[in-house]
Amino acid sequence: MHPYVSSLAGGLLIGTAVWLLLTGIGRVAGISGIMAAAITQPRAGTWRLAFLAGLIGGGLLFARLFDVPVVTVTSTPGLIVAGILVGFGTAISGGCTSGHGVCGLGRRSLRSLVATLTFMLAGAVTVAVVRAAQ
C-alpha cells in the first residue's frame, strides 16, 4: 500500500475511534487527558483504564500486524527529557495531538487551533535544530 493511502486509512481509523468513544459513552478521545486523569484519579473513571488497556493491547497487535519498526531517534536521557516536556506541556495546555489536534479541531475550537499550530511549529523548529546539530 502506498504510504499516503495507509496514512489516510490510519487517520480514518483514528477518527472512527473518536466517533466510537463519543457516541458510545459520551467522552472525548484526548489521550494526554485520559492518561493524566487515569494517573491522578484512577477510581473516578474506569472507562479510562479500559481505553488505555485497549490502546496498549491494540498497539502490540497492530504494530506486529503492520510491521511497525521499533526505533528511537534519540538517547534514553533525551527520551526522558522529551517525555517530561510532553507530559508537562500537554497537562498545562489541556491536550495533545488527539485532544487538541483531532477532537478540538473537529469541534472547530479556536483554542485547540492555537494549541495545534503552536505545538506543530515548536515541533518543526525543534526538528530543524536537531537536524542542524547532526
Binding site: G24, L60, S93, S98, T126, R131
Partner: protein, 157 residues
C-alpha cells in the same frame, strides 16, 4: 459516569475505541518516530526529503472528527446513557500556548506524542517505558505546579 460502576458495556466500548485508535496509529505510521520527525522537518519541503504522509493521517482523522462533532449535540445521550461531555473552555491564555510549545519541543525531540507512546508500551522496550514514566512525571509536576500557582493567587506564568 452514571452507570460506569455497574455496567460492563461502556468499558467494552472504551476498550474497543482504544483498540481501533491503536490500529489507526500503527497503520498510519504515527508509531514510527522517524516518520514523525520526517513530517515535522518542514525545512525539507521542496527538497524531496520531506515526508508529508502524516498530513494524511491528520486529514483522515479530522474528516471523521468534523462529521462526528457536527452531528453530536450536547443534549444527545450516548449509547451507554451517559451524557456527552464536551470541553467548555474557550480562553486562549499563556498556559495554552506555553504548554503547547513545550509539548511540541518534546514531540520534535522524541518523535512521540502521548497516543503513539502509550500504544508502543509493549513493543518499545525500556526506552518507551522510560518515556511514558517521564510523561507521567511531567503530568504530576504540572498538577503540583498548577495547584501551587492557584493557592498563590492564580499567578500566570
Amino acid at each position: 459516569m452514571s452507570r460506569g460502576q455497574t455496567s460492563v458495556r461502556p468499558l467494552l466500548i472504551a476498550a474497543l475505541a482504544g483498540v481501533v485508535f491503536a490500529a489507526g496509529l500503527a497503520l498510519g505510521g504515527m508509531m514510527d518516530p522517524r516518520k514523525v520527525q520526517g513530517f515535522l522537518d518542514f525545512g525539507a519541503i521542496g527538497s524531496g526529503r520531506w515526508d508529508p504522509s502524516l498530513a494524511f493521517v491528520m486529514g483522515g482523522a479530522l474528516m471523521v472528527s468534523l462529521l462526528t462533532f457536527a452531528r453530536v449535540g450536547t443534549r444527545e445521550m450516548s449509547w451507554s446513557g451517559d451524557a456527552i461531555l464536551l470541553p467548555t473552555r474557550r480562553d486562549i491564555d499563556p498556559r495554552l500556548v506555553g504548554g503547547a510549545a513545550l509539548f511540541g519541543v518534546g514531540w520534535g525531540l522524541s518523535g512521540y506524542c502521548p497516543g503513539p507512546a502509550v500504544a508502543s508500551l509493549l513493543i518499545g522496550g525500556r526506552d518507551i517505558a522510560c518515556f511514558i514514566a517521564a510523561m507521567a512525571v511531567g503530568m504530576l509536576l504540572a498538577r503540583w505546579w498548577q495547584a501551587r500557582t492557584v493557592t498563590n493567587g492564580g499567578t500566570q506564568p
